[in-house]
């Protein structure tokens, strides 16, 4: 395999997972902060808030996971090696 393609794939894999972690990180922080605020304001709604928070956190997590899938595809199933 061409070493330039190998090097580019490894760098791209690192970048894809690193960059795709930024947005969901901010989003999860926002969501968790708002949830804590909601619980502090209305402690009796804690169970409902927790369920919704977990579900939405997992949705945001999925975005990072897409980056991870791209990284894994680049590393283990690279379409550009001939």
């Amino acid at each position: 395999m061409d070493p330039i393609i190998a090097a580019a794939s490894v760098i791209a894999a690192g970048l894809s997972i690193g960059l795709s972690a930024i947005g969901p990180g901010i989003g999860q922080g926002n969501a968790a902060g708002q949830a804590v605020e909601g619980i502090a304001r209305q402690p009796e709604a804690e169970n409902k808030i927790r369920g919704t928070l977990l579900l939405s956190l997992a949705f945001m997590e999925a975005l990072t996971i897409y980056g991870l899938v791209v990284a894994l595809a680049l590393l283990f199933a690279n379409p550009f090696n001939v």
Partner: protein, 242 residues
């Protein structure tokens, strides 16, 4: 392909992860991933055993296994009812419930049982959901299910929803039918594989104690992913029905 040592392959006594290596079986001309099927059958057996034990002698006042299984059924019924509403949920409980229990069983079977003690000639036993084929199959089933739901309720009028707000959105609406199974399958596959890789890398670095919290996180994430997959499947079906 890469040279052999390029595959991600760390091996200590406790942890070994091989991405892209499979234990192939040749069944009637088809190459299948044997390590996935073996764990799959194990999960089937466990689910069947639970169902059998729960319904063996049904009593008016539930005790033991029956009590437990009734709460499980209530839980999956709630998932379907929350998304589909009172009037439609009943006929979709089996599908949604099966999806939830199957994915939950697969994720937990991979996270809890020390499969690495059983050595295969190639590949390794792990959660069946860490193979993209399993998750794509589940996601395509979900696609079929919501098409069936929409077509059986509205007939060909179902396709009116593609030009629903304005006809300009037709390409985006068609694209949505492809992104739904894509995101469903990648989400589940990526999460399960990511958990296993994290545990493997940590175990290769520090074999004792340190990976434990991540393993608990993996168990937790496995159940959340099962919940999300079934909730989304129910939501897509509800969208087609409304």
């Amino acid at each position: 392909m890469y040279s052999d040592n390029f595959y991600f392959s760390t091996s200590t006594f406790l942890a070994e992860a091989e991405v892209g290596k499979h234990f192939y079986w040749n069944i009637a001309g088809f190459l299948v991933h044997g390590q996935v099927l073996m764990v799959l059958w194990f999960v089937f057996a466990v689910l069947l055993a639970f169902a059998f034990l729960g319904s063996r002698n049904i009593e008016q006042i539930p005790r033991g296994w029956q009590n437990f299984m009734e709460s499980v059924v209530e839980f999956v019924t709630d998932i379907a009812r929350d998304q589909l509403g009172e009037s439609f949920y009943r006929e979709w409980v089996p599908f949604i419930g099966t999806l939830f229990l199957f994915i939950f069983g697969c994720n937990w079977a991979g996270a809890i049982i020390p499969w690495k003690l059983i050595v295969l000639p190639e590949g390794e036993l792990a959660a069946p959901t860490n193979d993209i084929n399993t998750t794509v199959a589940l996601a395509l089933l979900t696609s079929l299910a919501y098409f069936y739901a929409g077509l059986s309720k509205k007939g060909l009028g179902y396709f009116k929803r593609y030009i629903q707000p304005i006809p300009l959105l037709l390409p985006i609406n068609i694209l949505e039918d492809f992104t739904k199974p894509l995101s469903l399958s990648f989400r589940l596959f990526g999460n399960v594989l990511a958990d296993e890789l994290t545990i493997t890398v940590l175990t290769a670095l520090v074999p004792l104690i340190i990976p434990l919290p991540i393993m608990f996180l993996g168990i937790f994430a496995g159940s959340v992913q099962a919940l999300i997959f079934s909730t989304l499947a129910a939501a897509y079906i509800a969208e087609a029905l409304e």
